[in-house]
Amino acid sequence: MKTDDLVSMLANGEVAVSRRRASSRIWLAVLLGLPFSFAILLSGYGVRHDIVQAMFWPMFWVKVLFPLCIAAAGFVAAERLARPGVKPRHAWMGAVLPVLGVWLLAAIAWFTMPADDRMPALMGQSWRICAASIGLMALPVFAAALFALKGMAPTRPALAGAAVGALAGGVGASVYALHCMELTAPFLAVWYVSGIAVPVLVGALLGPRLLRW
């Protein structure tokens, strides 16, 4: 087929297209995935019994909001990376700064607490299941957002996959925070950050395979 024939073919018939924004596609993915994350929380874990009381503790909000900041940064980066020629610019800062903040809090806590309290603060009661649970609750949003990006045109698929991982990991961690009883900064700095880092890495690895177009 000659190129001019291809042009005629492409221009024939209806050429209008609905330009639903990348951001609204990814929003839809989050809205579709989120109920499943909550379903996993409620059926397999349960909300912590003192949730109302916990809402008066600043550390509870740190635990819920720092992953949400990472999710927001992942959202912005994914939305930009989904469109050819749009650079993610400073979106990654939104993911890095909350992590640095939590690490700073953890360092302050670590060096101001008695040496005997350090390891219990770091490991808590639930270090074994924390990162894996965050990954599990991230999964529905992760799958839905990857699917949304599959319908767009990411030209840097590894980065786009990592951004989806940050979005899903951040959402998963803040949903898991409603169950988790741990309230120390060192615990968050290690186990929450790992729980979010896993989907980011998985996304970076899957992106080039799944997001080809």
Partner: protein
């Protein structure tokens, strides 16, 4: 190689404005403007890719076609607040890297790939023949995708006519066109590995 430099050199800014105007009208449903857009775009792509792939002149026209098909399929990802040059360049670069990766001969590339404005700097009107035959690839699609494309996109019939000819519903015809063009793009890209 002369054919790649045949044609005109224009100010990329003017080209951007003209092409963007045609493209946006096309996205709103103006088929004539869309056709003009694709024709001019293919000339720019031919010059842009020809310059960068001068080791493989035979691949240029294939890659032009692949880029056109990709840009058509992904046209919903263009947002009007964005320079068209950047969008076109990013897609052309992505498809070119795909090709180069398949050939695994990136060290032979003499031009830097990050030359954003260059994509509209020149245009080459004269098309050489494509090696990979899109018509042949079309034959490999299943009927529910092939027939809608043949009736609507090649013979120029309406969706309603194609629906009555094939016994499909109108929405199935539209879906068939959409999925068929995507499948065509995927098969086109997969061919590089075999050709390398």
């Amino acid at each position: 190689m002369e054919r790649n430099t045949v044609g005109s050199r224009k100010n990329p800014g003017d080209v951007e404005a003209a092409l963007r105007g045609l493209f946006l009208r096309g996205l709103d449903g103006d088929a004539k403007a869309y056709r003009d857009f694709l024709l001019q775009l293919s000339a720019h792509l031919r010059a842009f890719l020809g310059k960068r792939l001068f080791g493989w002149p035979d691949e240029v026209e294939d890659l032009v076609q692949e880029c056109l098909l990709a840009m058509h399929n992904q046209r919903h990802t263009y947002q009007s607040d964005q320079p068209l040059t950047a969008w076109v360049h990013a897609i052309a670069r992505y498809k070119m890297i795909d090709l180069l990766r398949a050939k695994s001969a990136r060290e032979d590339l003499h031009e830097p790939l990050d030359d954003d404005l260059a994509v509209f700097a020149e245009s080459a009107q004269e098309a050489s023949d494509a090696k990979r035959d899109l018509g042949g690839l079309l034959e490999t699609l299943p009927d529910r995708q092939r027939l809608p494309i043949v009736h609507v996109k090649i013979e120029g019939r309406s969706v309603a006519e194609a629906a009555s000819l094939t016994g499909m519903s109108e929405s199935a015809v539209k879906v068939g066109i959409h999925r068929g063009l995507k499948a065509l793009a995927a098969r086109f890209g997969n061919g590089w590995g075999a050709a390398a």
